[in-house]
């Protein structure tokens, strides 16, 4: 069912959207954090989510790889339902192993890096390809070294995360996510925990990644990055999408009053 549904839409749009949300709701206890999110991320685009803290943008991002379960609505990644299987009009929860299988294709970068502290930078990048994909160690090591070079950290391969600066840790985290060859990358405020002078290096890596054609969903407070690199931008507040459009239009000429007041505070 779900496949047919998305196929029909994809015919209309030309391609299957990488992410499609239809009326996504999410509550924590009695607090409703997402109150009906509708949006579409096209393949190859850089999709920026901005908004005040508590607006639900990080929660929405975490729903995309099923770190959070949604309570209502539908969420599709590459045409497939997230966390469920639809059969005969009924929804069946996916097993943990099936969820894990789908997460392989979705890279995630966290605000607080979450590198594995007991492994070196190289081992961090090697871990998932070896453990999850069953790649041979030698091959994985070679690939990991290439990825570390790509994020400008070839000389830090043997260092433990505690021996790296925040910016370096975040770049290792990006390399770690890329090691699984994801078709979609999620960034959860990747520069918010960094000292200001380290933000640039991380954004440079993300810019390169965007130029290579990666589909990226980025929760960010970096309006400069959103304007220069972003293809679409959504402003969220209070669990709903308030305004969306091309970053240049939304950032320079916001239509909605709430967008205007938010941007006046951060720009």
């Amino acid at each position: 069912m779900s496949d047919k549904l998305s196929e029909r839409d994809s015919v209309a749009a030309g391609t299957t959207p990488m992410v499609r949300a239809e009326g996504v709701h999410k509550s924590f206890g009695h607090v409703e954090v997402l109150k009906g999110i509708d949006l579409e991320v096209r393949p190859g685009e850089v999709f920026c989510l901005i908004g005040p803290s508590g607006s639900g943008k990080s929660t929405f991002l975490r729903c995309i790889n099923h770190l959070e379960k949604i309570n209502a609505g539908r969420l599709y990644v590459d045409g497939e339902l997230v966390g469920y299987r639809q059969k005969g009009g009924k929804l069946y929860e996916l097993k943990d192993s099936e969820v894990a299988m789908k997460r392989r294709d979705i890279g995630m970068v966290f605000q607080r890096f979450n590198l594995f502290p007991h492994m070196t930078a190289l081992e961090n990048v090697m871990e998932a390809p070896v453990q999850v994909k069953g790649l041979a160690k030698g091959e994985a090591r070679e690939r990991a070294a290439q990825l570390l070079e790509r994020v400008g950290l070839a000389d830090k391969a043997g260092n433990y995360p505690s021996q790296l600066s925040g910016g370096q840790q975040q770049r290792v985290a990006i390399a770690r996510a890329l090691a699984m060859d994801p078709k979609l990358m999620l960034f959860d405020e990747p520069t918010s925990a960094l000292d200001p002078e380290l933000v640039g290096d991380v954004l440079d890596v993300m810019r390169d990644l965007a130029e290579s054609g990666m589909t990226m969903v980025v929760v960010t407070h970096e309006m400069g990055f959103a304007r220069e690199v972003g293809d679409s931008l959504v402003f969220m507040d209070g669990g709903v999408v308030v305004e969306s459009g091309h970053p240049r239009d939304v950032l320079t000429n916001p239509q909605h009053e709430r967008t205007q007041s938010f941007l006046s505070k951060v720009l």
């Binding site: 894990a100 607080r112 007991h118 433990y160 995360p161």
Partner: protein
């Protein structure tokens, strides 16, 4: 570091280094006084013991007696095997206790409640006398025998000590698992790792830092607790020492001998613990603390380099 040095060099003459401080250090008279008092008390105690009606010659005479050596090896064997049962069981129980499955977590809770809530000596006797409940042991195709034949003193001791230890280790492991940041689990899951693999590769290695120190404590505790199994007819160090004491007419002397052996073994174990802790500290601090041997070498090299400079 190098940057600041460079800029200092670029600016031309470095600022003149002020004279090193030469001050008279604070005198800690309290330390001298307390040292003298402590030494005096120690001398008094040693004197009292040497004057007592104890035949000290019996201690070195039997120190390496073959029965004592057998006892020492059996005590070590019991400690190692019981701790193995305890650690494996503890990890299993901790994972069960933290599982989302309500059945497994209840079983783990009940196990810990029972084995932690009854004295280990009582448990040893219960295992020993379980033949009253189960007359036979019958593992259909493999093994069938009377319970009393099956439940040897060694097995009784191992089950009694090991299963009791598992309950304590479970709580230690649970504390360790809970101490690992949730972001670690999320990161592993986001990479597509399964629940089991996340535990094995990411969570448990980090939990070890929290688990190892109290486990070292448990090992030392276990080594001493093995002296209880004399009650279920398994001979180990303490039992052999008692036997020798009764036959040779020097019972108290043999207690001192046993105490000395326990001290030696616990000291060796403490050293082992230091190195295990050091291994699991990798990555958590920027540089590993030096081993005692490295410290000694460092002191020697600085000493020799000082001489060279002079």
């Amino acid at each position: 570091m190098t940057d600041t040095e460079k800029t200092a060099g670029d600016q031309g003459t470095p600022p003149a280094r002020p004279e090193a401080i030469k001050a008279i250090p604070v005198r800690h008279y309290g330390r001298y006084v307390s040292a003298v008092v402590a030494i005096a008390i120690l001398v008094a105690i040693i004197n009292a013991f040497s004057q007592g009606k104890i035949n000290w010659h019996a201690v070195p005479e039997y120190f390496f007696d073959h029965r004592i050596m057998t006892g020492v090896s059996k005590t070590l064997l019991l400690t190692v095997l019981s701790m193995l049962i305890g650690i494996v069981g503890g990890v299993l129980l901790a994972v069960m206790r933290l599982s989302k499955n309500p059945v497994t977590s209840s079983i783990a809770w009940f196990y810990i409640w029972f084995f932690r809530g009854t004295p280990v000596l009582v448990q040893l006797f219960l295992w020993f006398n379980l033949g009253l409940v189960f007359e036979y042991i019958n593992l259909m195709p493999f093994y069938k025998d009377y319970w009393s034949n099956f439940m040897t003193p060694l097995l009784t001791a191992l089950l009694g000590l090991g299963l009791n230890e598992a309950a304590y280790m479970a709580e230690i492991c649970r504390a360790g698992l809970l101490a690992v940041d949730e972001g670690q689990t999320e990161a592993a899951q986001a990479l597509g790792m399964s629940h089991g693999r996340t535990l094995r590769r990411v969570v448990i290695p980090q939990a070890m830092r929290v688990i190892v120190p109290p486990t070292g404590n448990e090992v030392i505790n276990m080594l001493k607790t093995t002296s209880l199994v004399a009650a279920v007819q398994y001979p180990e160090l303490f039992r052999y020492a008692q036997d020798i004491g009764q036959n040779s007419g020097a019972p108290v002397e043999m207690y001192f001998l046993a105490a000395a052996w326990y001290l030696i073994m616990t000291s060796v174990l403490s050293v082992g613990q230091y190195y295990i802790e050091r291994y699991y500290a990798r990555g958590s601090s920027r540089s590993l603390p030096p081993t005692p041997w490295q410290k000694v070498r460092a002191h020697l090299t600085t000493f020799s380099s000082r001489k060279v400079m002079a």
